[in-house]
């Protein structure tokens, strides 16, 4: 509570300072799932957004103009997401939108922002939001800051290929995130000489996956790949240990999170997964140009804003930061005219973000390559980079 008031006060102070600095703020709408099932993802994302905006404003804003952040709650629900986005566009008349945080919410608002010509940077995991053609419609105005699922899949498959793990069993959560991962896992397997021997699924709220895992174990694959977010991944890990399955377990890029180790406990030992550099940033070589950016981010997050007491830094933490900065940089270059702003975002080159080095193009509205990820392994309850 006190922390909350403190943040509020800081916010107020910043607001007054920036007001004194210059009138006419730039409005940016940001909406995430603050309630509903995805609240645990949406809330920290919102906090990071606020942090990034305060930093920019404190440093003088964009070309002397402060950013005014308009917040909204997408309630983890597509209809509500559409309503909030409509409000941003028509009532608040924002220059750009950050969010939402879930793939299906992103898909629900995609057509609207495309029609309304509002540059939008989403923080969703799934790729369809930045794909075009057929039912997916156009993708001119929508960008996303987290890695594509395919990037994570390729990073993982490269590792499997290198270590000669060819027979892979999949256990996938029946959520949109899981299904998206599954699509790419199946599509990219041949490219890396991998065969998928089992295809199991589970609900995001299920308590027990031993049934699926014993079936998988019976097929004796070389590796088990689990694709999910949230606590279900930890249950898979625990069930694997319970059944004494020695086959290595790989999780997806949605799980690198201190919470995962907390929830899975000792069972997480040895689990591997693709992650952003944020997860083991202190182990990065000092020559890595990202290290400095991450260090600053972590300092603000942990020491200045103390967000880590409730939401310790995880692999997603930087996405909203990067989204804001990409937009801010583009406004700095091109102003708030929607078409110009969009073009500027699309031309973002070499932005060094928390989540990686962004190089956007007309074809790639994400801009992160495989070099933005690392494989990490849990050793002694710590995230370790796999060289």
């Amino acid at each position: 509570m006190t922390r909350k008031i403190a943040t509020l006060l800081v916010g107020l102070m910043v607001a007054t300072v920036s007001q004194a600095l210059a009138a006419d703020p730039i409005k940016i709408g940001a909406f995430f799932s603050l309630s509903g099932p995805a609240a645990a993802i949406g809330t920290p994302t919102k906090l990071v957004t606020m942090m990034a905006v305060e930093k920019i404003n404190k440093e003088g804003g964009i070309n002397g103009r402060p950013i005014e952040l308009i917040q909204g709650d997408a309630e983890s629900e597509p209809t509500k997401a559409v309503m909030v986005a409509k409000k941003f566009i028509n009532v608040d008349k924002v220059a750009a939108i950050i969010g939402p945080d879930l793939t299906d919410l992103g898909m629900a608002v995609k057509k609207m922002v495309e029609d309304a010509h509002i540059p939008t940077v989403m923080t969703v995991g799934g790729d369809p939001v930045i794909m075009s053609g057929g039912p997916l419609g156009t993708c001119h105005w929508v960008f996303k800051s987290p890695q594509r699922s395919s990037t994570a899949v390729e990073k993982l498959y490269q590792y499997l290929q290198k270590n000669n793990l060819k027979k892979v069993a999949l256990i996938i959560s029946s959520t949109t995130f899981g299904k998206d991962g599954k699509t790419w896992l199946e599509k990219l397997a041949p490219k890396y000489g991998i065969t998928i021997t089992a295809n199991e699924s589970f609900g995001p709220k299920d308590l027990d996956m031993t049934a699926q895992l014993s079936k998988i174990a019976a097929g004796k694959p070389d590796a088990i790949v689990c694709w999910t977010t949230g606590p279900a991944g930890a249950i898979v890990s625990r069930n694997t240990k319970q059944l004494n399955i020695k086959i290595p377990l790989f999780q997806c890029h949605g799980l690198p999170d201190p919470k995962y180790i907390e929830l899975a406990g000792a069972a997480s030992e040895g689990n591997m997964m693709p992650a952003t550099k944020l997860m083991a940033w202190d182990q990065l070589a000092d020559t890595d140009p990202q290290k400095k950016v991450i260090k600053e981010f972590v300092h603000l997050y942990n020491d200045v804003y103390n967000y880590n007491t409730q939401f310790p830094i995880n692999t997603h933490s930087g996405y909203a930061w990067d989204a804001i900065h990409i937009v801010a940089d583009a406004i700095k270059k091109a102003g708030t005219d929607p078409a110009k702003l969009r073009d500027a975002i699309e031309q973002t080159k070499g932005y060094l973000g928390v989540s990686g080095l962004y190089n956007l193009t007309t074809e790639d509205h994400n801009g992160l390559g495989q070099d933005s990820m690392n494989m990490v392994r849990i050793e002694n309850g710590k995230w370790k980079l796999i060289p």
């Binding site: 603050l34 309630s35 909204g72 709650d73 309630e75 983890s76 629900e77 597509p78 209809t79 509500k80 559409v82 309503m83 409509k86 409000k87 566009i89 028509n90 009532v91 793939t103 299906d104 992103g106 898909m107 629900a108 995609k110 057509k111 799934g126 369809p128 057929g134 039912p135 997916l136 419609g137 029946s174 949109t176 899981g178 299904k179 998206d180 599954k182 699509t183 699924s201």
Partner: protein
């Protein structure tokens, strides 16, 4: 009249709103409200009028959306036929689900619909080859009628609210029709409704199907409006929200449901100002409304502003008991019979019960009882408590099926036939415990009585097809006639629940008499009435008989029984112990022993 005014106001608001508020965001909110209002209108018919709760309507909403989406995108069907096909398919699924489900009661029904909702949700989520890309079903085109493309919030606004308005009219038409009265009657008292010819089981299924088709329509519109659908929208939490709108708005009230929809659709956005505390306020508001305004916000507001006088001013006149010998009720003896000659014997038998037995959990409630009722006579069935009188009435009126024996009505075997069927043949009844439909006016109560005599069903009623008005007028006219006969005409527009107990008894008789039955069963028509009221009922029964309608009377008031019956049948322990003229019965030793007990 009230409804026309309401519709006029609604139409005005619908038209004026987009003119005064042109911002697409508010139109968008209004559109979501409109879509919900269509689902809620159907749900309100189901909950408020048929008395059935479904926590699975989000699934039907979803079926509409997905059927339309898949038909349009995958199979290139035009939106309008796709929408109609979706409604049809949803209705068909609802029919298949509804027939077994609506046999369930209470919580079982709730669970069955929850289960259905979960199943539909999982199938939509998992069957991705059909239901679209993993993260939902994108790329649904806007609705198009000829050259008119509904691609803006404003155009959709007029379409959605036009349809919502239409559906509200359809709901009001239905509610105020023969069918609607049947439904409300069935909600008020299922056995009573059935005894007046309402096919209760069939009606429940029909309303269920209609409500799901409304939901399907709204779902289709949703799909064409958002052009993207995903499973999360159609989960059981949305089902719960929809039912909340009905209940907190006002169960069984079309306007209340609309108000509930507006309120609970906008509430979450309004509560956004409370940030993290939003859910707490939402829950609190819901709880407070339901605790203090259990009949819903609309009725609650009305009662607040037009504080009604409570019946507490009815005073009780306590007089001394003491050794005052009461006069007893002075039931007038029936005047000579009218056009039907009472001399007829065998050929005058209209109902013949032969050797009927029935047992409940091992107890013989009726054992080999035979009984004849004659045309134009009042036959009384008497006996001490637990003798089986009410059981006999229930057997004759089709509520219980006898274990053995036969029953014929005008020569037709009717054993095991349902009450509504018997009502069609001209056999109606009243009930021991008042079963007036307290949710309806006196006039409407009597109009339900004419259900079996009339025939306009759901479609005619909803669309007010030609002939419906005429039938309705005829029903009303006849109902007024009957009310005049029962001297209730000045209270025709009163709520039945506002009447005194005695008047309610008369309403029940009027209701059963309205279709001009050939036989009427009266189960304790004067129980709980005072002497004046009893006299009145006695006269009425005589009048009924004088019109040629036969009466089977179960009653404890012996003055009445002995005064107006042509014949008395006495039951004791489920057996017939005597039968004859009143004078004979009063002297019958077996009867005396049964009633007064034995001295030794």
């Amino acid at each position: 009249m009230k409804h026309y005014l309401g519709l006029l106001v609604l139409a005005g608001v619908i038209i004026v709103f987009p003119l005064s508020v042109s911002n697409p965001y508010y139109l968008n909110v209004a559109n979501i409200i409109g879509l919900n209002s269509i689902v809620v209108a159907g749900l309100n018919l189901l909950i408020g009028y048929a008395g059935q709760i479904s926590l699975g309507h989000a699934a039907f909403y979803g079926l509409g959306a997905y059927f339309s989406g898949i038909l349009t995108v995958t199979y290139q069907v035009n939106p309008i036929p796709a929408m109609l096909l979706a409604m049809l398919a949803t209705g068909l699924i609802a029919l298949l689900i509804g027939i077994p489900t609506l046999k369930l009661h209470g919580h079982y029904l709730v669970m069955a619909t929850v289960g259905f909702n979960l199943i539909v949700n999982i199938i939509i989520l998992q069957w991705d080859s059909v239901t679209g890309s993993p993260s939902g079903f994108p790329g649904i085109p806007n609705l198009k009628i000829g050259a008119l493309v509904f691609d803006t919030d404003q155009k959709m606004y007029y379409l959605i609210w036009g349809l919502s308005f239409l559906i509200i009219i359809l709901s009001l038409n239905l509610v105020r029709s023969r069918v609607g009265r049947g439904l409300r009657a069935l909600h008020g008292s299922e056995p009573a409704a059935s005894s007046l010819g309402v096919q209760t089981a069939r009606y429940k299924v029909k309303v269920f199907v209609i409500s799901t088709m409304f939901a399907s329509l709204a779902g289709s519109l949703y799909a064409y409006y958002l052009t993207f659908i995903s499973p999360k929208t159609f989960d059981i939490f949305f089902s719960i929200e929809l039912v909340t709108m009905v209940i907190a708005g006002g169960i069984g009230n079309v306007w209340g449901a609309l108000l509930g929809t507006v309120f609970f659709t906008t509430l979450p956005s309004v509560l956004d100002v409370f940030d993290e505390y939003k859910d707490i306020f939402y829950g609190l508001i819901l709880v407070v409304i339901l605790i203090f305004l259990p009949q819903g916000v609309l009725v609650g507001i009305k009662e607040y502003f037009f504080a009604r006088k409570r019946s507490s001013d009815k005073d009780i006149q306590a007089d001394d008991g003491g050794r005052v010998f009461s006069r007893g009720s002075s039931a007038a003896f029936c005047p000579p019979l009218g056009r039907i000659s009472p001399d007829r014997t065998d050929d005058g038998v209209i109902l013949s019960v032969r050797d009927v037995s029935i047992n409940f959990g091992g107890i013989m409630a009726l054992a080999q009882v035979s009984l004849d009722l004659f045309e134009g006579q009042v036959t009384a069935l008497i006996g001490p408590n637990g003798a089986g009188k009410t059981t006999m009435i229930n057997v004759v009126s089709g509520i219980h099926r006898p274990t053995e024996g036969s029953i014929s009505f005008f020569g037709q075997e009717v054993k095991g036939k349902r009450s509504y069927y018997l009502a069609g043949l001209g056999l109606t009844r009243t009930f021991q415990n008042n079963q007036t439909f307290s949710n309806m006016t006196v006039l409407e109560n009597v109009m339900v009585g004419l259900h079996a005599k009339t025939g306009k069903e759901f479609i005619s009623s909803m669309f007010h097809l030609p002939g419906t008005g005429r039938e309705e007028k005829a029903i009303e006219q006849r109902a007024w006639e009957v009310l005049r006969f029962f001297r209730l005409e000045d209270k025709g527009h009163w709520s039945a629940s506002a009447l005194s107990f005695g008047e309610q008894k008369r309403v029940e008789m009027a209701r059963a008499l309205a279709p001009n039955p050939r036989l009427i069963l009266l189960d304790e028509p004067v129980a709980g009435l005072n002497m004046t009221e009893t006299d009145e009922i006695a006269k009425l029964i005589c009048d009924i008989r004088n019109q040629g309608i036969s009466v089977l009377l179960v009653e404890h008031d012996m003055n009445l029984v002995m005064g107006i019956s042509d014949r008395v049948v006495v039951l004791n322990y489920g057996r017939k112990i005597a039968e004859g003229r009143p004078q004979e019965i009063q002297k019958d030793e077996a009867v005396l022993a049964a009633y007064l007990g034995s001295v030794d």
